[in-house]
Subunit: 142 residues, 6 copies
């Protein structure tokens, strides 16, 4: 059993806003992040998969496949986008680092189901860095 | 003569748009950056000053003064903001890395004029990193 | 359940010395670190908390609260200090990376007890980097 | 119980090739990595040990011992080498990041057996970074 | 006048060998780098161009053009290659960091001549990192 | 002409104190750095030399020689030391980043004089990072 991790980056805007709260309450809870003009980050997404090493290839799973999953499911829809306005999940969910990690998991998890070309590798963890000093880890729900 | 550099970070949104062009021309020139919903970055601003070392302090200039200049003139008005919408210079100028470097220079340069508490240090360079792999340097106009 | 991590830095001096040993024994075990004049590091402290995401905020816990806990309990008493001379725990304990991780845990753990404003988040891990190439992880005692 | 991690670097060449496959099959599976002229990386090896802190030293284990184990068992035989041609394990195994992690584990694990000068510390994890964006973790076999 | 820099990475093998010297002389001068099996690095190439900012775009030059120049002239022929065996210039030249910087300059400089789509930007500097701790800068010949 | 740069690290303590000032004046000017218990940093020293590439070796100068100069003149006397107490120059000079850069220059410059084994390479710049966000550059006196 080996754990394999790959990172990729996307640049996106977001803001924090709970529509059930007043402007003042949003400002009190979210501070500068409540600015509805939005602000942005160079996010880093790190995906970890776990599995046995195929003795023919030395791979837990094909790295091009893993790269493609991240590119198609995450980078393409998130990069150079406004998360609140252009990623459907964040119409309902505040796009915090925590929620982005969970949404990334939900988007890519089906690609690791049995019968796909992932060599039996399981999705183990999604980590999202909002900055180098702030990051969230999500391992799915048991 | 010693050159002293200090870095700070701000998170901001921007988009690239020339109002004199059609939507198609903006998209052709600016690609994904033309998305008017905006996207964002963790920018790094690096300010370099040059001067003689004061033998009493060992400083080219007081570092708290330098930190305050960056905080008041740049971080406060740029951090967690939308550059196009909230920083007046970028109502006219496209907020490219190049133009951000020049605008930062113009904002902080008066603080290094004679008679200020900068110990005679001169502003030498402003560097802006949009990502770790893309940055612009501006040295003022001779 | 999401794990949220935040980093902060402090600059401090330390030396390694066991008062029950001779000078020679200290030098043999601790090498250059036994120099009683002290030496120093830019330490990085990384605190990880675990909890459920509050659907109203998208937060495991308020990040300003987490930042304040680290600032008040760790950065203020450790930054620009001599750990052996100014942090009481290290009058008895050698301030190795391992022991610093455990002391940081003990200092901040009470702030995550029930009834505090941490939204039920639990302290999960304290990581201390002495340099980018050397770090210790502490998860508390079961 | 504290987990202590130390990093070191080595520069090495490798290529990916399964001798039971045709040239075309190797190219299809391994892409640019199948180039038999080889290419190379600045690898980072990160070794994590776990144990109790010795109250006399504040150490999980002596860091010079850990550094020496990595230097003698890994850096000396791997650095400035061609992994396929000069490291015996990779005559049979494709030197992927996954397999390098497992081989490093096998080489250093005996050094942490009881009776050695590791203070009872156990080898917990070997992490290999091929690039900053791609890494493998191996925890041994249960 | 603004200076704009972009980084990219390539992984390659090399060795140091002067065919006019004996094996012993190569070993004495080049140490571990003389190993003819080759070793490798994750190289970083950083290209800096200088020019005036086009007021219509805010660009010194189009960044996609700069990215394409680096991709076509450097990454494609260097990445996942053995520099001595697959890059013609290094049949004659030892592929040191210094010589790689000069060869990169020679390969990309014609792309910045007048009449190209570089908006009048001049090539200013090529920097090559062999590791994060070792790099060479080349500014062309006056 | 190529510029070659090499980095190395040292961990040291220091404090800022002007003996001609009162305690209050030191505290006012130097803030937390005036704490006479000292604090410390992981310093990075980056030395840049300039010269022509020797066609036999591809080197501006032998990198082992450069590494040895830094090790003998800087790392050995500075690493795991208290700069104020153990480096003679800082009995008189405040060990600011600026002054450390100048002292490093003075210590290593004689090693690049004609007749030494530096292949005619000239010392061009000394850069000292106190933290990743604060650094000083010194180019000698004309």
């Amino acid at each position: 059993m080996v754990f394999m991790s790959r990172r990729a980056e996307f640049s996106a805007s977001h803001y924090y806003h709970n529509p059930q709260w007043t402007h003042e309450e949003n400002a009190r809870v979210f501070g500068k992040c409540a600015n509805l003009n939005g602000h942005g980050h160079n996010y880093v997404v790190e995906v970890t998969v776990a599995g046995n090493v195929d003795p023919r290839t030395g791979f837990v799973m094909d790295l091009k496949t893993l790269k493609d999953i991240i590119a198609v499911e995450i980078i393409e829809p998130f990069d150079h986008r406004h998360l609140n306005k252009e990623v459907p999940e964040f119409k309902q969910l505040v796009p915090t680092t925590e929620n982005i990690a969970a949404v990334v998991w939900q988007r890519i998890a089906p690609r690791f189901a049995s019968g796909t070309n992932c060599n039996g590798a399981k999705l183990y963890r999604v980590r999202i860095y909002e900055t180098p000093d702030l990051f969230a880890d999500y391992y799915g729900e048991a």
